[in-house]
Point group: C2
Chain length 155, copies 2
């Protein structure tokens, strides 16, 4: 049986409150500190209005989002893309929503003339890692296939 | 004996040819594909002129660089910083040049009102990983200290 297509749409400024709520739930689930939803809404409005982020949404809730950043590159005349967040609400996981979002992410990156896309994920997030690998992402570099690691530091 | 201070300066558009040469050597050393130096020079000029990257240089060659990107954030009113490249010419490694660059990176990020800085590195690059850890970076997230991984895909 063919899977019903899961529609994905690009967010507008009007979606800022819904985006803020999803981002808040995302951080809460992963035990990260998170700003209150009101502050996230104002930030999301600013970022969308200024074209500083591209957000893809799916479902009526909405039930999932992909948050993309594009930037010019020193390596190429094309853009560089960064998938900053990918989230599906817990009750709806395992139904292909993440994959539908990621397929839309790849199309959107091509529309923005991006040469490549980068993302970070936790070693223990096997569902996400399996999806990224299936979609052609790699965590390895060089002839020996050494893993690439992500580091961060607060300032 | 106290170590002599290693001066680090911020690049201007005039440094584009030197930056292009260092980036070219960097990619060549790590067996990555690289555009020719002339193309990288034009790209570096464009990126510096438009304020799309901040490059820190050290030495007369110059002998090392740090390439930084800043972007606004949906999580905070501050900026997000990304260290895209860090390079010291092979003959001068082990003398503290990388650490001097990284100290300047952290100062520059604070001047740009960044809330945090992110970077990626290879699992086998122990010198870099030791330096990042010494400077307060972490590769781990969550209560269980799970490693954070970097993935990429060409488009």
């Amino acid at each position: 049986m063919e899977k019903a297509e899961i529609p994905v749409r690009e967010a507008t400024v009007e979606d800022a409150p819904a985006i803020a709520r999803l981002l808040h739930d995302f951080n809460t689930e992963y035990e990260e500190q998170t700003p209150p939803v009101g502050e996230l809404t104002r930030n999301a409005e600013r970022m969308l209005r200024e074209g500083e982020m591209t957000v893809l949404l799916t479902g009526q809730g909405p039930d999932g989002l992909a948050l993309l950043r594009f930037r010019p590159s020193v390596w190429t005349d094309q853009q560089e893309a960064y998938l900053q967040e990918l989230y599906v609400v817990p009750d709806l996981r395992g139904r292909g929503i993440g994959e539908a979002l990621m397929q839309a992410v790849l199309s959107t990156c091509r529309e923005h003339n991006a040469a490549w896309i980068e993302l970070n994920t936790g070693e223990a997030d096997l569902a996400a890692r399996t999806l990224y690998k299936k979609l052609g992402f790699t965590n390895e570099e060089g002839p020996d296939g050494v893993a690439m690691l992500y580091y961060e530091r607060e300032l």
